[in-house]
Each structure stands twice: as C-alpha cells, then as structure tokens.
C-alpha cells in the first residue's frame, strides 16, 4: 500500500518517521475493508434505490441555495455519469438510477424550463 504525502505545492517527499507496523497493517487492510463495505453497500443498493426518494438519493440538505444545489447536482452528475461506464455492473445499475434522480431533482427544484 502506498502512502503519499501532500503539501500545498504538490509532490514532496515525506520527512516523517516510517509508520509503525500496526499502522502499516491497518493501512494495508484499508483496501480490503473498503471493497467489503462497498460490496455490502451495493448489495443493499437495489432495495434502497427503490424505496428512497430522489431528494434522499441526492442527499439534499435543508437550506441549500440554488447555486449550492446546482453545484451539488453537477458534482453528482459527473460522478454517476462516469460510473455509468463502470466495469462493475452493479455500479452501472446504481448510476442509471442516480442519474434519473439527479435530473428529477433538477427539474423539480431548479425548474429549468426547456423551450
């Protein structure tokens, strides 16, 4: 597993002491842990996608301004549009539902009429 240290200006080598063995093994387990969590999440996703509203799927927050909402939806769209081409079929399925939810929220709240 790689550890990369970032500073403001970009790629700089770390001057920290090497991390301890316990930290290293915890870091090395992160990928497997993430994969397992993601597998579990995608297994549940099909049910959640059917039961959650478009607003819930898009994780809208109370008090969002129009511009915040627009930016939030654009970020979501970018993520899930890319995911629609994922090699993982479950993620592609999730992406299709999310893209529809994003559009639904946009049409409902931003009310951008198409001529």
């Amino acid at each position: 597993m790689f550890k990369k240290v970032l500073e403001e200006l970009g790629k700089v080598f770390s001057t920290r002491e090497p991390i301890s063995a316990s930290q290293a093994s915890a870091a090395a387990e992160k990928l497997e842990e993430l994969k397992q969590k993601e597998d579990e999440r995608l297994e549940k996703t099909d049910t959640e996608l059917k039961t959650k509203s478009a607003e819930e799927l898009c994780e809208l927050k109370d008090g969002m301004t129009v511009e915040e909402l627009r930016a939030h939806l654009q970020n979501l769209y970018k993520r899930h549009n890319r995911a629609a081409s994922s090699l993982d079929a479950r993620r592609r399925d999730e992406a299709e539902v999310m893209l529809n939810a994003i559009v639904e929220v946009r049409q409902r709240y931003l009310d951008k009429a198409i001529d």
């Binding site: 081409s85 090699l87 639904e104 198409i114």
Partner: protein
Amino acid sequence: MAQYVGIDLGTTTSGLAILRDDGHPEIVPNGDGERLTPSVVYFDRHEGVKLVGSAARDGGDPDRTVHCIKKRMDDPNYILEFDGKRWTPPEISALVLSKLRRECSKICGDVDEVVITVPALFNELARKSTVAAARMAGMKVRRLVNEPTAAALYYAHRFGIMGRILVYDLGGGTLDVTILEVFGEEIRILLSEGARHLGGSDFDEVVLEIYAKQFRDERGAELYNDERQRRRALKAGEDAKKMLSKLKQVTDTIGNDQDGIARVNLTRELFEEAVGRLMMRTEMLVEQALAGADLTPKDVDHVVLVGGSTRIPRVRQMLERVFGFAPRSCGNVDECVALGAALFAKYGAQVNEVCNHGYGTLAIIENVETGEEAFQNSIVIPKNTPIPCAESQTYITSEADERFIEVEITQGEDSDPRYVDIVGKITLEVPPGRPAGCEVTVTYSYDENQRVRALVLDKESGRSQDVAISYKGEGVLSDAQIEDMATYIQGLRIE
C-alpha cells in the same frame, strides 16, 4: 487500393468513407446501395450465412439477430451463442466491418488500412476490442479517433469554421460532447465528455413505452409478447420519432397477431415530455464539458451537430437556449463522422488530442498540515491531458519488510476509490529487509491511440516492471484467438 479510408462503426448504423483525389471525402455505399449500413447481424441457421445490415434488421428470427453490439464492446464477459459457437462483441463487430470492407472495396479498391472512430467515453477495453474487430475483418487500424474529433475535422474542412467549437454528437447509442479549437489547419482538443445509454435507440425505447401504454389502454393487452413483435413495435416507434422531427403529430396503427391492432397517436409535445429527462442529461453533459474546460457558453464560437438524433427539434432548441445562438448542422449529420475519419486518415497528425480518462493508483494520502489521512484514488494522469504524454508520481511504501510492491492501476477521475475502476495491477518483487518509507515511482504513458502503459520503479533496488493495461474475461480475446478468428471470418459468407 483506397489510400485514406475512414469507418464510423456506429451503434445503430456504420459507414465507410474515402478521401478522393480532389481532397474531399466521400461516403462509399455498400452492396445494397445504402450509404449507411445498419449495425445489425443475423446468424442464419440454415445456410450458415451471416446477414449484416438492412436484411438482418428487417427479417429473420429476432432471437438470432444482434443489435447495438457496440454497447457491449467494453463488457469483458458478454458472450452470445449461436449453433454451438460463442461470439464476443468484437467478433460480431468484425462481421459488420467485414461487410463494409468487402462490399465497399468493389467500388473504391482494396481496403487494408483504416481509421476507425470510437466514442470519446470508450475505455481501454472497448478501444482494444474495436482494433481487434478490425484485425479480424482483415484491416489494420492506422488510428483510432474519437467521433466528435472526426466530425469537427469534417466541419472545419467543409465550412471552414475556425475558433472554439463545441461538438454535440448524439448518435444511436451515446452522447459525446467535445470542445476544441481550430486555427488554420491545426485542431486542438480541449476536452471530451461522454454519456452512455443516451442516444437515438434510447429515445426509441421511450416511444415504445408510449405505444405499449396506448395499446394496453385500448386493447387491454400487451403490445408485444415476444422479441419479434417487440422489434416491429420498436421500428414503428423509431419511424414515428423521425417523423416528429418534421411533423407535430403522428398517427399509426400497431398491434400483434393475438390481440389485434390499435390506433396510436403521438404528438411532438408528448414525445418531448417523455424524453425530457434524457434531454436534461444531455444538457448536463454540455454543462460538465464547459465546466471542465473552465469555459462559459459565451466562450464558445460555434456549436456543431453530429448524429441523426440531433434532428430532434428539442435538441436544437436546448442548445440555442444555452448558447444564445443556433447550432450548425451540415445536413448529413449521420455521415459526418465517417467523412471526418477519412480526412483524419490523411490529416490526423494536425489534430492534438487529449486523454479520455484519468489513470492513477490507490494510496493513503496524508495532509501534512492537518495530519489527516484518507484512502483515495491518487490520479497520476488527469483526464484531458494532451497526448501523447507520460506522467509520474512518487510514493513511499507504508509497510516494513515488504517483499512485493503492489500497484493497483485505476481508471477514472474520482478521488473516491469506490467510483473508479481497477483495470490492472503490477506486482514488483523487491529485496527483503526494507523499512517502510521506500520511494516508488509510478509512471503512466498514454499514446496517440489512447492506449496506456504503466511502469513501476523501486528507487532503492532499481527494479522495475511495466505493463500494458489488459483485461480478463470470457469476452476478451488473446492475440492468437484474434488471428484464428480473422482466418475464420474471412472464410465466412457475409451478405
């Protein structure tokens, strides 16, 4: 022999164009006299012939007919079986390419080397599959070029347009939006974005749903009960969609053998409302492209239309609303990609392209200022970097006594590792007894055909390993399999 040949291997139709001696590109019709060949293949059971094109689309057992195989070119596990033989997406695409090559060569001469176009969003596997399909059809691929890039070259050639151009390419199966700059004879791509399952065939499915509902309401039964009936109804929907580009209302009768026929009515307003969400997705892709290039609509000089689906009036209205001026159409919007590909065969060196995907690796990123650590996708080559290119990133190992350095190669632009694909892995053996914190450099290089190689170098030991990204799956063919299949296909009867 035809010297400069371009092929648009499309989701719903494909075309072949050559560059004439006068420097203008021209579509070469197929043996059926059609300028565009439907990308449909029928596997006949009785005579062993493979029908490609209109004959495949319009007749035959729908269970033995393959449509839109291009949508599967990036699926490593997609296999179809006919008469005990398994077919992968590139092999089926090779049949389409074979028909084009065999029949068009009777008019323009032998076709040995071609430029083939692909959607901007096609990943590494889909591009490799396209090159493999061409090889199996007996052609060498001079270059792969993105469809919007080819179309832009055609527009620049035909209309002499210069400046900053947004290409809106809405074809049968995908939407590509590319922003580029044309100055004199040079074309510089700034950015490409794409969306799958967003094309004319998806609009056809929407019309099919409308028809199915109207039939159900009138006849109390389902419009189709098998694939043949569904295909017929889908074709009727497609025809209605096309007519609605010219008329405000279409009336038709539709039905099946069991439940009779019903009168269906489709207005342009109803159609546009039904496809409204799909249209909004296209608008959001345009916004994403502008944002990615750090541009506003005012910064774009021209918007050009590519793909038959841009004939839908709502497309033009949307783009005019966004940009404040009408988009430009060359008229033959279905053909401009193939025509542009033929131009690219000669003038491709003047086109400066960009990476279609970002590539990176998984790492724990630590913020030195806050001390926070996050497990992230660390991008080495950002998307839209001009190509060819090579970029490196240096990391330190996180474990002591590592014997193997493992680098996961990711494809995608998201920093969240859940939303990128792991497309490869390099395992580099290193000497024992090393502490954590050893420097490892990961270098990715991107060639002009959008192919990626990865190199991992361990600074301490000097050991390195490099790989070309490869995919595993039932549908992924080895070089030997491609050669065998090329021999097999070239012996087939393809009509």
